[in-house]
C-alpha cells in the first residue's frame, strides 16, 4: 500500500522569529535577520556577522521546556524541542489516539552546538548536550513515540534528508505520523574561523543585513544562520480521519551523492541537476507543473552558479520562467536546519500563493539569468514547488511539495 504523505503542522525558529506567523511576515517583507554576532566576542574575527536567533528565545522557550530537561540540553537542542512542541500544537495531533509504535521522529542534525559559546556545560550534562541523537530522543520522550527515532547528518542537506526518510516511512505504510526537521547552530569562534579558512563565509560585515547576496554579482560567501524547523508528516488517511488541516502534500524527493569532492559541488551543477531530475521522476510529476523553486542559494560563487546551471539543464527553455528564490538571503545558512526551514517556507509559499524574495540582489550577475524574485515578494499560484539542499561532502536533496486541494 502506498500512502500519500501530507504536512499537517509546522514551525520555524530563526533569526526572524520563533513562530510561523512572525517568520512568514518578515520573510515576505524581505527582512534580514543578519546582525553583528553577540554570542561571543567576534571583534577579532574576519567574519563578525551571523543570523542569530534573538536572545529573547531563552525566555520564550521556558514555557515549553522544563527546567530539568533544559539543563541537559544545549541552546540548539532547546530550539529543536521548542520548535517541535509548537509544530505538534499547530498540527492538533493527539498521539493518544494513534498507535505510538507507528509514530516516529527523524531529524537532521550536524551538531548540537555544544561548543565554546554554550553555557552551563558540566561533566554531568556534557554527554547529553553533545549527543546529536538527543534531539530526536527528547521529542520521542516527550510524546512517548515508539517508532524509529534517529538523526541523520548529511551536512547542509541533513533535514531535507530527514523529510525524505520520514516520507518513506509513511509512504511505505510503516508509519502513520513522523515528526521531521532539524536544528543547528555553528555560530562559534572555531567554526567561523574554520569556514573563513575555506573562504566559504561572507566577509561583508558592514552592514550585516546586506551580506547575504545569493545570485548577486558581488556575492562573497554564505552567512551563518541558526535555528530549527519541524514538520508533522502524516499519512493522508490519518490526517483525514482526524479532520486535520493539510498544508501541502510531499509528492516525492531525491537523495543523491555526487562522489566528487568533500567541499566543492560537481562541475557545472551536474550532480545538482541529477538530483532535481530524480526528484521530479520520484514525484511522478511533469516538469511543466513546477511553478517555483526554493533554491539552496547560499551566496557562494560556485553554488549559485552551478545551481543556476542545474536548473537550466533540467528545465531547458522553461527555466527562465520558473521563479527561484533564496531564503538564505534573509535568514542566513542554517546548515542542518536549512532543508526543513526552507521546506516549510516552500509550503507556506504554496499555501499563501506568495513567493518570498531573494533580498540584496541589487547587482545581478550577468551569468546568472534566472528569475530570482529580486528584493520584493510576488503573488503567484503554485501547483508544485521544489526545495533544494546541497551539502559539503556531495550530499544532495531535492524535495517536491504539491498544493493540496482545499
Amino acid at each position: 500500500m502506498q500512502e500519500k504523505v501530507v504536512v499537517t503542522g509546522m514551525n520555524i525558529i530563526s533569526s526572524l522569529g520563533f513562530d510561523l506567523q512572525t517568520n512568514w511576515k518578515n520573510l515576505v517583507e524581505g527582512k534580514s535577520g543578519v546582525r553583528y554576532i553577540t554570542l561571543f566576542d567576534a571583534s577579532a574575527n574576519t567574519t563578525r556577522i551571523a543570523a542569530e536567533v534573538p536572545a529573547e528565545f531563552e525566555e520564550y522557550s521556558r514555557q515549553f521546556v522544563k527546567k530539568r530537561a533544559a539543563s541537559q540540553m544545549t541552546r540548539v537542542t532547546r530550539m529543536c524541542y521548542t520548535c517541535a512542541k509548537v509544530a505538534v500544537e499547530h498540527s492538533g495531533i493527539n498521539f493518544d489516539t494513534l498507535n505510538r509504535e507507528r509514530c516516529s521522529v527523524i531529524l537532521g542534525v550536524v551538531n548540537t552546538g555544544n561548543s565554546s559559546t554554550e553555557k552551563d556545560t558540566t561533566f554531568q550534562n556534557t554527554i547529553f548536550k553533545g549527543m546529536t541523537n538527543s534531539m530526536s530522543a527528547w521529542i520521542s520522550l516527550e510524546y512517548q513515540l515508539q517508532g524509529p527515532n534517529f538523526v541523520v547528518n548529511t551536512a547542509c542537506a541533513s533535514s531535507a534528508y530527514a523529510i525524505g526518510l520520514g516520507y518513506d516511512l509513511i509512504h511505505s505504510g510503516r508509519a502513520d505520523a513522523v515528526i521531521v526537521g532539524g536544528a543547528d547552530s555553528i555560530i562559534n569562534r572555531e567554526e567561523i574561523e574554520g569556514f573563513n579558512s575555506l573562504y566559504a563565509l561572507s566577509v561583508n560585515n558592514d552592514p550585516p543585513e546586506k551580506a547575504s547576496r545569493p545570485f548577486s554579482k558581488d556575492r562573497d560567501g554564505f552567512v551563518i544562520g541558526e535555528g530549527a524547523g519541524v514538520l508533522i508528516l502524516e499519512s493522508e488517511s490519518s490526517a483525514k480521519a482526524r479532520n486535520a488541516e493539510i498544508y501541502a502534500e510531499v509528492a516525492g524527493y531525491a537523495l543523491t551523492s555526487e562522489a566528487y569532492s568533500i567541499m566543492a559541488p560537481m562541475k557545472d551543477g551536474q550532480g545538482m541537476a541529477i538530483t532535481i531530475e530524480r526528484a521530479i521522476q520520484n514525484a511522478g510529476i511533469s516538469k511543466d507543473e513546477v511553478d517555483y523553486i526554493n533554491a539552496h542559494g547560499t551566496s557562494t560563487e560556485l553554488n549559485d552558479r552551478y545551481e543556476t546551471m542545474a536548473i537550466k539543464k533540467v528545465f531547458g527553455e522553461r527555466a527562465g520562467k520558473i521563479p527561484v528564490s533564496s531564503s538564505k538571503s534573509m535568514i542566513g545558512h542554517t546548515i542542518g536546519a536549512a532543508g526543513a526551514i526552507e521546506g516549510i517556507i516552500t509550503i507556506l509559499s504554496i499555501r499563501n500563493s506568495i513567493l518570498t524574495p531573494t533580498i540584496n540582489l541589487d547587482h545581478p550577475d550577468p551569468d546568472l539569468d534566472l528569475d530570482y524574485v529580486p528584493n520584493h515578494f510576488r503573488n503567484k499560484e503554485i501547483r508544485v514547488a521544489l526545495s533544494n539542499s546541497f551539502g559539503f561532502g556531495g550530499h544532495n536533496a531535492t524535495l517536491v511539495f504539491r498544493k493540496y486541494p482545499s
Binding site: 527546567k67 530539568r68 541537559q72
Partner: protein
C-alpha cells in the same frame, strides 16, 4: 565513619527536598518522604548521581560511585525518603557501605 547527628539528618533532608523542588519545579511543601521520584515528580536517575556529588563535596566523602552502584542494585531507591536514608548511610559509612550491607 562519620557520626550522624540530628543536625546532619536535618541538613541532608533539607538539601534533598530543596534539590527536588528546584529541579522538578514543584513546591517543596508538596514533597514528603513517600514521594516517588520518577512517578510523582517526573525526576530521573541522574538526579541521584548529582545529589551524591553534592554530598561528596559537602562532607568530603571518600566513596566510589561503583560502591554506591553495587549497593543500589540490592536496595533500589524510589522515594525521597529512601534516597535520604541511603545518603545517610553513604555519609556514615563511605566506602565501607557494602560492609554495612553484610
Amino acid at each position: 565513619m562519620a557520626h550522624i547527628t540530628e543536625a546532619t539528618k536535618k541538613e541532608v533532608k533539607d538539601i534533598v527536598y530543596q534539590f527536588f523542588a528546584d529541579e522538578c519545579e514543584v513546591n517543596v511543601a508538596t514533597l514528603n518522604d513517600s514521594t516517588n521520584i520518577i512517578r510523582d515528580i517526573d525526576g530521573d536517575s541522574l538526579m541521584f548521581l548529582e545529589l551524591i556529588e553534592v554530598f561528596k563535596k559537602k562532607y568530603n566523602l571518600d566513596i566510589e560511585l561503583k560502591t554506591i552502584g553495587k549497593y543500589a542494585v540490592k536496595h533500589p531507591v524510589e522515594t525521597i525518603g529512601q534516597l535520604i536514608d541511603m545518603q545517610m548511610l553513604i555519609i556514615e559509612n563511605e566506602n565501607k557501605l557494602l560492609e554495612f550491607d553484610k
